[in-house]
């Protein structure tokens, strides 16, 4: 195992108050096995340059805040170990296809605007689930599997950064919003396919995905956005030939709570009452 050694971090900096264009700055820091890129950034900030800016939150690969380009590939700083990338030189730059706010911080609002445009929530054709707070939307394990993989998306923007179509076409929705749309279209509790269809099939919609596959290659959560988009194309093509209206989602189920039983189960035991002996 490698011992502590100096690793050069080249970081693409941009200070809007003083810089006209981004520039590279180099920081040499001690790194050790098990240290992540995020740990390296903290060390730089603590020991060398406190002005360095980047986004992070959970430090464990579930929030998506720390996405950046690490040695030419989009990834999460918190779950990328320095010595797995390079013990000698690590290059960090802000995610591609987004405008830079400062250093490694980018403006992700275009991606989230596209995301919102595709209605990433369960849409119901009935109002019972809203009106009846005791109701449940029952879903089988088999139905869950249809979209579960795509629900793991943490909205880190690594896929959007890697997408060559987004790079040249600013109107294209991008892998994350399209995957989110398929996640809900594939959800058996959802009735929003027709509402999302217009946004998906309009100018620069899903048909502009050329299946480069880079989004799936860089996804840190194994979501496979390319697969989601192709499945969605299949569903949209099948919809072209549909003659009957889509089958609506199953109605909300009434779950009956036996309040007496619940109260008895929650009541603490009465130690004054003799226990019945087992026969």
């Amino acid at each position: 195992m490698s011992k502590d050694k100096k690793t050069a971090f080249s970081i693409k900096r941009f200070l809007p108050e003083s810089d006209s264009a981004p520039h590279w700055e180099r920081y040499d820091i001690e790194t050790e096995p098990g240290m992540t890129v995020l740990d390296g950034l903290h060390r730089i900030r603590e020991q060398i340059d406190a002005t360095l800016s980047w986004r992070y939150s959970c430090r464990m690969g579930v929030c998506g805040s720390c996405a950046m380009i690490i040695n030419g590939k989009p990834g999460l700083a918190c779950n990328t170990q320095v010595h797995d990338i390079s013990e000698v030189h690590v290059r960090l730059e802000p995610v591609w296809n987004f405008s830079v706010v400062k250093d490694l911080v980018t403006d992700l609002s275009p991606m989230f605007d596209q995301h919102r445009h595709l209605k990433p929530w369960v849409i119901r054709s009935d109002t019972e689930a809203l009106q009846n707070t005791q109701a449940e939307l029952i879903q089988s394990p088999a139905a869950l599997v249809e979209y579960l993989q795509f629900s793991y998306c943490i909205k880190c923007a690594a896929c959007v950064a890697a997408c060559p179509t987004v790079a040249i076409d600013p109107v294209f929705a991008g892998p994350m919003p399209l995957t989110a749309a398929h996640r809900y279209n594939a959800d058996s509790r959802d009735d929003g396919f027709d509402q999302r269809k217009k946004a998906l099939t309009e100018h620069h919609g899903v048909s502009h995905c050329h299946y480069a596959g880079e989004c799936s290659r860089v996804c840190p959560k194994g979501v496979d956005p390319a697969k989601a988009i192709q499945l969605m194309k299949r569903d949209l093509v099948a919809d072209l030939f549909r003659s009957a209206p889509r089958t609506p989602a199953a109605p909300a189920s009434q779950v009956h709570f036996d309040r007496q039983l619940v109260n008895e189960e929650l009541r603490p035991p009465d130690f004054t009452v003799p226990r019945k002996s087992a026969k």
Binding site: P170, F172, K198, T201, V206, L236
Partner: protein, 126 residues
């Protein structure tokens, strides 16, 4: 028009499959005839007048060539349209590019079809 882009995309994909088949046949028969001879055991020079005449008289060849022309033009111009609209993504540019691609496609298709059908009519023995 609802779902127009998905319909164009589907037609483009189907045209790609048709082009693969028909162009494959064209390449094998016209340009890889020596290789084909190894497989089928005989060889005729496709550009000999007798062979050209046979193809010209055949309604099947004529229809196939027109079909290949149409599907290849649609597939190619759809791709060109996609590249151009990704580069220039405004609505006005999109309308201009769509008009340009359709115009080029129709003109080229009509020219090629007239040439193919004319040759067929010339070669058919009255």
């Amino acid at each position: 028009m609802n779902n127009a882009h998905m319909k164009y995309w589907l037609v483009n994909a189907l045209c790609g499959v048709v082009v693969l088949i028909l162009l494959g046949g064209h390449m094998a028969g016209m340009h890889l005839d020596d290789l084909l001879a190894l497989v089928v055991g005989s060889s005729t020079e496709p550009l000999e007048w007798a062979e050209v005449n046979v193809r010209g008289q055949s309604r099947l060849f004529t229809v196939s060539y027109v079909f290949l022309l149409g599907t290849a033009l649609f597939h190619g111009l759809y791709g060109l349209h996609t590249i151009l609209t990704e580069r220039w993504s405004g609505r006005r540019a999109a309308r201009f590019i769509l008009f340009g691609c359709w115009s080029a496609g129709v003109i080229l298709f009509l020219t090629g079809t007239i040439a193919t059908v004319s040759f067929h009519l010339l070669t058919v023995t009255p």
